[in-house]
Amino acid sequence: MYLPDFEYYAPDSIAEACQLLSQFGAKAKVLAGGTDMVVKMKNELLAPEVVVSVKNLEQLKKIEYVAGKGVCVGALCTHNDLVKSDVLKERYPSVANAARQMANNQVRNRGTVGGNISNAVPSADLPPIFIALNATAKLVGTKGERTVAMEDLFTGPGKTVMAQDELIAEVFIPDQKMTGSNYIKFGLRKSGALAVVGVAVAVQVENGVIKDARVALGAVAATPVRAKKTEEFLKGKNATDDVLAEAGVIASGECKPISDIRASAEYRTDLVRIFTKRALRKAVDEGHV
């Protein structure tokens, strides 16, 4: 296999990167870890004339806690950066755990948070847990920066609200009232399998009562989706097995999966039911986000 020729740039600043993206327009593509893009280029699904490598943007490689606000995850953090981050282990083990279930070790050492999100594949593993935790993305372009809620970022398979000259700079996970969160990925083998279904949940439980809940589903619609009816149903209920099971049934009614080479729509729908129930149970029981 081989890659077609392209012009290569490796800017030293975000501003310069945005400038290049704006200058070359649709001909240009950002290259982060390359674990999506190189595969697509080899499979002849993509042939950018200009590649803007963001490898030098060191400032986007940090995971930090901003006191009283939340955790800031640089877009160039690799999946293994998330897995190994002490900040995440302490505050959001569910995010580290979601990252650990991705791809395989080699890909986790290259693939980045920004790439996983920008790619906008319905089966991507990070968006659901970010949505469940009410995270936002900071986008930077030639005209300045803006913040978009993760759940509003995706508009279709491979499509986002990002403009051609915009980069994802960071993901911000705000401090939570939620008491538990969890992401379950179901793939067709234990490693190196894309999600057939991914379910992320975050719950706020007090004295056994669910005060608030967020449920986000991956791989079962054109974009990662929130299961809002399920969330509404859960609010104010006791976190009993029956309630969580019923939440699963509701969630399975909220997804619109397709059938593909990996699984039928029918199967995916039922998996949403099963894993919503299981993810909620875990989030409730573990009692930490």
Binding site: G34, K42, G192
Partner: protein, 165 residues
């Protein structure tokens, strides 16, 4: 940014310097050159294999600044100024690394095609985690497919190597 010359077809060729197994090499390459091809074709380090070429099999695994990555998915030019360890850099002179010794002792390979990647992944694991559990060993090599061994002797070899670091 690395310096370049433009060839007669208008394609830029860049002077890229990588440190491979402890030595610096400067090579003139096109931007679309993959790390795996730089190693195999330009540096004659053919221990790094080409298999699936899509990040699924791991036979091209090398360490990039200490972390195992698939050389088939990395642009060589993105490695400018960085350190790479290939299977050829695992042994210390004539002494084999403990991981290599244990692969031999346990017959952790058959056809040997996955083995360079397998050993690089295993060594990288032990560098970071000298006493892994069996699960951690399996997790670390889950991106290295081996059709011959069923991983049984490989897992045994890595655990034994950890005990004898």
């Amino acid at each position: 940014m690395s310096s370049f010359v433009v060839d007669k077809d208008g394609i830029k060729r860049y002077a890229v310097t990588v440190n491979v197994n402890g030595s610096d090499y400067t090579k003139v390459i096109k931007a679309n050159t993959l790390l795996v091809n730089l190693l195999r074709d330009d540096l004659d380090l053919t221990g790094t294999k080409r298999g699936c070429e899509l990040g699924d099999c791991g036979c091209c695994t090398v360490m990039l600044d200490g972390n195992p990555v698939n050389a088939c998915l990395v642009l060589a030019i993105d490695c400018d100024g960085r350190e790479i360890t290939t299977i050829e850099g695992i042994q210390d002179g004539e002494d084999l690394d403990i991981v290599q010794e244990k692969f031999i002792e346990h017959a952790g390979f058959q056809c040997g095609f996955c083995t360079p990647g397998m050993i690089v992944s295993s060594r990288a694991l032990l560098n970071e985690n000298p006493s892994p559990t069996e699960y951690e060993v399996r997790e670390a090599i889950a991106g290295n497919l081996c059709r011959c061994t069923g991983y049984v002797n490989i897992v045994a070899a890595v655990l034994d190597a950890a005990e004898n670091l």
